[in-house]
Symmetry: C2
Subunit: 769 residues, 2 copies
Amino acid sequence: MINSKPLKENPNLFVFLPIYYLVWSDTLLTNEEVDLLKDLLSKQSWLKENEKTFLLDHLDPSNPPSTDDLKLWLEEIRKVLNKDQATSETLADIGIRLVNLHQDNHTANNVIQVRDNIHAIEERLGLISKESLYQFMPESRKTIMQQRKTQQNFNIDTLAKILDGEHTDIINQVKSVLSDPSFKYIETDSLSEYREKVLQWCQQLAKQGFGAMGYPTAYGGKDDMARYFTVMETLSYHDLSLVIKFGVQFGLFGMSIYFLGTEKHHKKYLHDVGTLQLPGCFAMTETGHGSNVKGIETTATYNHSKRSFIIHTPNSQAQKEYIGNAALHGKMATVFAKLVIDGKDYGVNAFLVPLRDANEKTLPGVTIEDCGRKMGLNGVDNGKIIFNEVEIPHENMLDRFASVTEDGKFHSPITSDNRRFFTMLGTLVGGRIGIPRSGLSATKSGLTIAIRYGDQRKQFGPEGGAEVPILNYRSHQRRLMPLLANAYALHFALQYLTNRFLTRTDDDIQEIEALAAGLKSFATWNTTQSLQECREACGGKGYLSENRIDRLKNDTEIYTTFEGDNTVLMQLVAKSRLSEFKQEFSNMDLFGMLNYLAGQAKTSFSEMNPLIVRKTDEEHLLDPEFHLNAFKYRERHILTSAAKRLKRHIDSGMDSFDAFNVTQHHLIAVGFAYIERIILEQFQLQVEKTEDEGCKRILKKLCQLFALSQIDRNKGWYLENDYMTGAKTKAIRKTLNQLCWDIRQDAVPLVNAFKIPDVLLSAPIAVKG
Amino acid sequence: MINSKPLKENPNLFVFLPIYYLVWSDTLLTNEEVDLLKDLLSKQSWLKENEKTFLLDHLDPSNPPSTDDLKLWLEEIRKVLNKDQATSETLADIGIRLVNLHQDNHTANNVIQVRDNIHAIEERLGLISKESLYQFMPESRKTIMQQRKTQQNFNIDTLAKILDGEHTDIINQVKSVLSDPSFKYIETDSLSEYREKVLQWCQQLAKQGFGAMGYPTAYGGKDDMARYFTVMETLSYHDLSLVIKFGVQFGLFGMSIYFLGTEKHHKKYLHDVGTLQLPGCFAMTETGHGSNVKGIETTATYNHSKRSFIIHTPNSQAQKEYIGNAALHGKMATVFAKLVIDGKDYGVNAFLVPLRDANEKTLPGVTIEDCGRKMGLNGVDNGKIIFNEVEIPHENMLDRFASVTEDGKFHSPITSDNRRFFTMLGTLVGGRIGIPRSGLSATKSGLTIAIRYGDQRKQFGPEGGAEVPILNYRSHQRRLMPLLANAYALHFALQYLTNRFLTRTDDDIQEIEALAAGLKSFATWNTTQSLQECREACGGKGYLSENRIDRLKNDTEIYTTFEGDNTVLMQLVAKSRLSEFKQEFSNMDLFGMLNYLAGQAKTSFSEMNPLIVRKTDEEHLLDPEFHLNAFKYRERHILTSAAKRLKRHIDSGMDSFDAFNVTQHHLIAVGFAYIERIILEQFQLQVEKTEDEGCKRILKKLCQLFALSQIDRNKGWYLENDYMTGAKTKAIRKTLNQLCWDIRQDAVPLVNAFKIPDVLLSAPIAVKG
């Protein structure tokens, strides 16, 4: 085109070159648009007929310019570009300068007169001048997105100290042990090699006293449960098979002896458990009974003449299943079985049953099968255990809560079999604290990997311009920033739970059990969700084992199931909330309560005033009081309505079991609403008490993000119940997106404050920037 | 208590026994409630002082009855139970019969007179008589939940035929090959053994002509792309490494030669590709460029003197990564590289580059590294490829869309480098059909396992009563039934996509590309979500590798990333929708369009009339027209508002790249809304055209469930935009739950209609009931 005769004869035609370039290089221009352009051209009265024909011919899709032509046009256009004020020009301006270039510095008047005309063509085509101009000089383009970078707005060490609390010493100690070359991750195809390695690691940790940390000093421990939990949590930056093997031995097995046994058991076993000289198992779950453990069928039949118990697996559904440490290493197990005396069933009790002799051969009557490969945690040797009339002495009953007397009678300070069993389980609630804390560490590892990668990985950019870090994309931020806020929120909530547990009394143990059940569920589901997002956020790199997200994800996958299936636990939480409800109204009779409930719906809560329902200014939307009120309102309202629904169903003659089932979805929401309020409350308290200004500022933002992302998730509920208007939930979404955009700059420092040693992260994509 | 003196002296006291039993066996009774009971007892004027003292003493928590006492009380109570009318009695009634039992058949009048009084105590305690009575005779309890069972409401074979369409022959052929003992799943720790096995499987399939199915008959194929897709889909009931290895060879590698090459390439290679004599790779992705493939940096520099190209990897970010078949078996690769002629860049083109010689040794200049272990698909040998000035002859350029002429000039029928590259990619869109169909098969396997297990696995039940299949629990249904509906919905939607692809023309190829991108994203995310739920729904059993959910889950995990990252694809869909938008208004000028958009918000759509917004009767909520209107309204509204937001930002001077970023979350919703409408539309068409009454009925229910579960998911949006009231979204939730409850009976037959051979499912927990 450029060197064609008509252009040489009339350089004025150059005025169309920028538009023609865009037409042929644009991948989106449609036939209709080309037709529109043709139509406009034919109306330009200043063009001669042969010029029109020429121009129209060059719009014919069957006769396109060559690729080289197009490149030449661009070169031509670039000659006249004004790089400094590029964005204020129109295509017509450039066209006119092209005309000048070819016409000895004076432009024909008719071309200048049609400048607006040409500009109108641009507009009709929907071309945006500024955007079009960038196609000519992409390098001049600067977007906000390209400028967004990691910044240092607070002191990372100070924030790390806030997270670690008073346990910096033990955390550093564990990290230093794990960073030793002997703890290098194992790369092997072989299951047996992997399991052996994990056992060795456990032995090393035991040798240094980490396993016995929670046991009384008399038996080699430090009597320090707080530090024991911290050890579990810190170990979870390493291989999670190690953590679970460790937890089975020193937590489940050891703590069952400690909490369900009496001094004679402590004296005899705890020392050897703590040093791993006595590897053991916790054999509660059976094939047929996992969630409903009260229904297990293994029997422990008392034989008074021999003062012994016969442990027996009556059918295949009663075999102990998924038992950690069983397939290879366990020498003894705490076995839960129904105690039978004189043909009478006294409910589930716990017994110590030897499994293997000193040569690691299984003992007579004991059959163990390997559970084989699992989705994850393959360094742990899970097995099935079947007992065929295995005899154990009287002293092997863990007899803190129940015993068989000298004269062969059952004795317990707790009358009801049910209540006794749940009291026993209650002492083991520590598992529901250790597991979410372990899962949170894995989440932190995943977030560290994904966020550091997102900060460095660049992909796409403005057409022709430099590429942009993927963490600058809003959708990427929306995926990861709320999860980062969740991780911080859960850190403080799980610390609160731990403290409550450590200072528990008989009066608040039930509340703490509900708290543990709920936080365990919320936190482990959050782990699954977070690691899923981290995998996707790292794309193909996230799929390679070298970057460890696969391990973290597969290993923690079972966290939502073991130590209590999350769905079941959330219903437990809800039932506990309903019973607190019952207590609160215990001074009302049934009808009084029913009337109260009916009235509740009409009650106009103070937060429900129409002004607040509609309020959308940013100050209000970021106000902690607004957040907490919203959470509390939901918690209260959802609990009340669940109670009402239950009553209504039962009153109408429905069986209570059916009524609970019909309401199940609602009850799970009750559990969530309670736990979410607790988490927010604790996070807000932490923000308030933080003294360092930089840390306070960023923690406050994270807390706001946590609150708003939960409200946004539940916005359907808030709208359904007229607590917010649509305008308000839309404003919340906007504020939420803005918070993510703001926090993005702090994201890398925020994960660096987790202080996970690089050797433990061990992900090539997570190198520090 | 029973044998105590006061009871013997005054058997009237027996009237309290049922209440006392409940007090001591209840695990939830609080101190306040015990106090309340004490208070009420002390007010019973018919009791003597010593009797009151006796009764009060027996409520003292520090002096509980023994466990044996409690068992005796229960035995005593059971003596007088009236099993036939159990549920209509009060505790007082039973108490009075106990008095009779001990008092020679005539009850003291004063006891009968206080019957109401005692009943009042029951009520004040919040005990529900019926529920309490079940504690005495749990075996008499029958809940609706215990009665819910799998039923046969339609003919499974007929439904299977509807799903298979016209491809039953090839489906059965593939299933029969896969059921051969030689296709037994491999159980090995060793990566190399696994990869070798998968290669062998591929060879067996190639031998039977499955690989070449889509190629022209001249080169050993059947010219049948439809059947090729069906083969991929059916293979996906087997090991997914096999499917991906198969897809890389016959799909990616073979189809790139077929669609990007010309006859000379077809003649020379296609036959050997189809028989797997020439194993090959598809080398597009680079370390630095995965989503933004236009930015790849590998170069193919033309050397005119030798009529050859030099393929070169200029830096480590430009190495080809994740390339399937590369680490071990590939002998040649289709390599995407920037063509450079005389120092000018002609954009990305495709070249055939030999990798290994006949002895499987890598050729000079080619370096291949193993990607190592991955989260899944470990039977596929992914590798990195680095080229160091590898020379290939001129004929190795795949030259359908671009070529270098005899005189060394670039030639292409498509002027723009961009447009040419996207045209090339467009021919490869088949991958975005094969992958979601493969993922759907994996989803069907997972659902078959989880639903059959849920139908048989029992856990919990009414206190003391028989346990209940977990699929009878509402929360379990809510987890799985909507996913079952999604699987059916996607089956028909992906068939529609396949048909559109097979009958494509130049005019609708862009629409089909958007459709494929969107359905690929929706379907593969659905696969991830479904298999996650299936794992959790199977608890510990779902974690054991023997039940295969782990493999299905980990293997398909990358489906959301490869063949296009889902988040990126959904934005492509949105952009395509916006450009259709632009077409629709191409006869308006910019201001006209802007005004139209502004007006749009105020437009009252016909469905927006206040009556319909509020309508909550079941007939309306289940009406397909209501569903489709709601989907369409959302699709239209969300697209319009996204366009408006984009314009507003750009008009205010924001860079378009920034504007798209700020709107990113919104754009992804545009993609979803479009795809969801397509899926619903196709499902409804399928229901309409189904003739068999039984199948039509169940498909209709599944379609309703699909529609309502999507609406429920998006209820926040519908409420925000006043398309529904809170009362309506609540009614929808209720209807949704009811649909899940109804479909539960059909769930096992519905997964059985997928007709996945048990030997392929290979999950012990998925045995047919």
